[in-house]
Structures are given as C-alpha cells and as structure tokens.
Amino acid sequence: MSIPLSWYLILAATLFCIGLYGVLSRKNAIAILLGVELMLNAVNVNLVAFWRYLNPAEMAGQAFAVIVFAVAAAEVAVGLALIISVYRRQKTVVADEIDLMKW
C-alpha cells in the first residue's frame, strides 16, 4: 500500500498554517520572513504531490515548483537586504517600530 494523496495535502496545509501563524504573530522582521519560507515550502509540497498523483507525464507541477524556488530566493535576498538596511538606519528589526513611511 502506498501513500494516499490526502496525506501530502494535509501535511502541506498544516505546514502552511504554522507558517501563517509565524508571519502574523512574530515581532521580529526576520522571523516573519522565516514564516513566509515555511508557507512557500508548503506550496511546493502541494505542487509536486499533484504532479506525481495526477499527471506525471506533464512536468507542469515540477516546473512551477522551480519557479517558486526562484521567487523564494529573490524574495529572501531583497527582504533581508531591506531588513539590514533598516537596521543600519533605525537600529531595530522589530516590524512595529519600522514606521518611516507611515504618516
């Protein structure tokens, strides 16, 4: 007996919700980005599981997972650069205290 599709989907949903909790509840901007990474990974698990279970001859699921990898790398690079830049000017990484553009 092999693994039913629903196991993967439920695991990915749980991982996504844990990431969502992290994004919404953390104060530190870097910790918020860590939560975003968890959510992107949950999406990737779903994409690859659907590729394997629905249509392994088409590479759509894996191709989109590769695009998600690229977007995640870009997002982390820019996000961390912004956080480090803000830290240099404001001496803080707490998301609530970063209010330069708040009127």
């Binding site: 693994i3 039913p4 599709l5 629903s6 196991w7 993967y8 989907l9 439920i10 695991l11 949903a13 749980t14 991982l15 919700c17 844990i18 990431g19 969502l20 909790y21 992290g22 919404l24 509840s25 953390r26 104060k27 870097i30 910790a31 980005l33 860590l34 939560g35 990474e37 968890l38 990974n41 990737n44 690859v48 599981a49 590729w51 394997r52 279970y53 392994p56 001859a57 590479m59 759509a60 894996q62 191709a63 590769v66 695009i67 990898f69 977007v71 995640a72 790398a73 870009a74 982390v76 690079a77 820019v78 961390l80 650069a81 480090i84 830049s85 830290y87 803080t92 990484v93 707490v94």
Partner: protein
C-alpha cells in the same frame, strides 16, 4: 502499513515539529537552524515523490543559500532586540485562532475532495523526470517564458539587494 507510509509519518512529524519550533522558539538563530531541519524534511518528501532533481535543488538552494542567508542576517542584526522580552505580539492568540480555523477548513475540504484517496500513478515507461523537466523548462511549447521571466526577476532582485544593502557614504 507499508515501509513508505511509516517513513512518511516519521518525516511528517519531523517537519511539523521543527516548523513549530521555527515559529515559537525565542532565540532567532535557533529558529533559523530549525528551519534547516524543516527544509531537509521537505527534501525527503520530494524524494518520496520521485522528484529527485527538486530534492537536490531543495538542499542546494534552500539549505545551502537561503538558510545561510538567514543565519547571516540574524548575526548582523543581533545585538539590539534578540532574546530579551517576548518574541510574539501580545495578541498572539488571534493568529493562532486564525491558523487553526484555516487548517480545519482546509482539512475538511481535502477530505471531501474527489480522488483524495488515490495513490500515486506509475511513472510512464521510459520517462526520465530530470530530462523531461529540463526540456520542459526550455521548450517554447512549454515553460520557456515563465523560466525567462524568473531569470529576469532573479537579476532584478540581485541588483536591488546589492543597491539596498550598500552602505551609503556621505
């Protein structure tokens, strides 16, 4: 229960446990290290799904680059806020409730999904997933356009990150 199912459950427990540590642990450097464990678990899942190339990319790009970037960012911004006081908002129960609600909804949806109990299809005869993925990414009939857009995005992110993080000397 087959060996595959037992392996899945073990990996799933590791993934979810370390993900919970990522969002709850107080020391940020520990959160980044727990993220490495989660990412490694997801790589094992990719191997279980026979997406071997993605498993390798997961280890190389996610663990090798992204997680290390996180650890560097934690070290560069360490002194001020870390480790003293609480790391979560005072009203942390609202996100927790929201997450639990969304999770319940998703699980109900998944369990009622037609075909949720299906098992994996056999890989087609003679299909080499790595070769197929490679040609799908550069074939004009498949995904060459998203692939090129992703590379432009990467370039823009690279230039942007260098520009934003540079120290401006006045």
């Amino acid at each position: 229960m087959s060996a595959e199912q037992i392996l899945f459950i073990l990996v799933g427990v590791v993934i979810l446990g370390s993900a919970l540590m990522v969002v709850t642990t107080r020391k940020l450097i520990h959160a980044a290290l727990w993220l490495v464990v989660t990412l490694f678990g997801v790589a094992v899942l990719f191997t279980l799904l026979r997406a071997n190339f993605l498993a390798v990319i997961q280890v190389v790009v996610y663990i090798g680059a992204i997680a290390i970037l996180f650890i560097f960012a934690v070290m560069l911004t360490r002194r001020e806020q870390m480790e003293k006081g609480r790391q979560t908002r005072p009203n942390w129960w609202i996100p927790a409730l929201l997450g639990a609600l969304i999770l319940t909804g998703l699980v109900v949806l998944i369990l009622n999904l037609p075909g949720a109990e299906r098992t994996a299809l056999a890989l087609p005869e003679g299909l080499d997933p790595v070769r197929a993925l490679g040609s799908a990414l550069v074939s004009p009939k498949a995904y060459v356009l998203p692939f090129e857009v992703a590379s432009v995005l990467m370039l823009a992110a690279l230039v942007g990150a260098v520009y934003v993080a540079t120290v401006d000397k006045k």
